[in-house]
């Protein structure tokens, strides 16, 4: 099923509105696939042609913060600047947490980025939520079979290699699961998911470049 009817510029808004007003939640249902706007698996996002964004995206609202409470499909979020928001996850919401998943994977204490449509009751009907997602410029400080030690600014981060997920892109080439060409001291862009329990990161994609002066 397509998450959004197409062909009508206001279709997404109406769909989200209807879903939110009905209180349609997706807890425990199957994986929510890619939408015209939403989160998809990172590799899939590269592989698949990008679809045109719904014009209603220009009206979207963004929420950021920590999830303090979950009540069914309603997420209460404490923003980093003292603000407070309620985010409603509906049947139209795509959910990313390491990979495309369901709202059932969202936990209290998780970090959240959410995009959606403001509702009359003050909630945000989310068309996409990214849970714990980080995209960090780091330097490789140590390499083990199942983890990378990363420096992010002045902070050390442990990055966990996920056997079924982690990929590496060398100099912009297609992602591979082969980590053998990583080198200590390299700059590495890390897309992954923060793990609140131990402040580490689960690695989804690591990109390393050839560095300066290398042009095609």
């Amino acid at each position: 099923m397509s998450a959004y009817p197409t062909g009508d510029p206001l279709a997404r808004r109406r769909f989200l509105t209807a879903a939110a007003l009905r209180g349609a939640t997706v807890i425990g249902t199957g994986v929510i696939g890619a939408t015209a706007l939403g989160a998809v698996d990172a590799d899939a996002a590269f592989a698949e042609p990008l679809r045109a964004l719904d014009p209603a995206a220009a009206d979207s609202t963004f929420v950021e913060g920590r999830i303090t409470w979950i009540d069914g499909g309603l997420l209460e979020v404490a923003g980093s600047w003292g603000e407070y928001a309620r985010v409603r996850v509906t049947g139209a919401t795509s959910v990313w947490k390491v990979r495309a998943t369901t709202a059932a994977a969202i936990e209290t204490g998780d970090g959240l980025y959410a995009r959606g449509v403001p509702m009359p009751d003050g909630t945000l009907a989310a068309d996409a939520v990214w849970v714990n997602i980080v995209n960090l410029h780091t330097t490789l400080r140590g390499i083990e079979k199942d983890r990378l030690h990363l420096a992010h600014g002045s902070h050390e981060i442990v990055g966990h290699v996920l056997a079924d997920t982690t990929s590496v892109s060398y100099s912009g080439a297609a992602p591979t699961v082969d980590l053998s060409r990583l080198r200590i001291g390299q700059d590495a862009q890390v897309l992954g998911a923060w793990r609140p329990s131990d402040d580490s990161v689960e690695l989804v994609r690591v990109a390393v470049g050839p560095g300066a002066g290398h042009r095609r």
Binding site: D41, A57, A58, R66, W96, V134, L136, D187, V204
Partner: protein
């Protein structure tokens, strides 16, 4: 300041966090301009200042980006979908030199080299955060 339509540059857009209080970004401050927030439509530009340029060095990847300092306004458009967002320069970045020749493509057209870094709010207005980077055209 208006969000204009004069072509400025094109290349890859990545995203970064600033000023938010969870995860590895908990330590991120307000960026080089002191005003950057992940929840706002902000961006980092590799030539926000001389000091910034010395760090990012886009010229080493063949990109001689013009200087645009804190508060400059740009329109960033996804090159294929046409979705666009107006952003305010609030930080220095990305470190272009570390990823020379990196390309991102859509519909068979690629954009090369990291030329702008968007906050999650800005990036998500034109694409999915899980893609990590997008090919964009920049206007001012």
């Amino acid at each position: 300041m208006a969000c204009g339509s004069t072509s400025l540059w094109n290349g890859e857009a990545t995203w970064f966090c600033c000023g938010n209080a969870w995860g590895p970004c908990a330590s991120a401050g307000g960026g080089a301009c002191g005003t950057c927030k992940s929840s706002k439509l902000h961006a980092a530009w590799p030539n926000a200042s001389k000091a910034c340029w010395d760090i990012t060095r886009p010229d080493l990847c063949g990109e001689k980006l013009p200087r645009r300092g804190c508060g400059s306004v740009m329109k960033v458009r996804h090159q294929c979908s046409g979705a666009s967002v107006c952003v305010t320069v609030s930080d220095c970045g990305p470190r272009t030199r570390s990823f020379c020749s990196e390309s991102t493509c859509c519909d068979g057209t690629c954009r090369t080299n990291r030329v702008i870094d968007l906050t999650p709010a800005a990036f998500s207005a034109i694409g999915s955060l899980s893609s990590g980077m997008l090919p964009v055209v920049i206007f001012e």
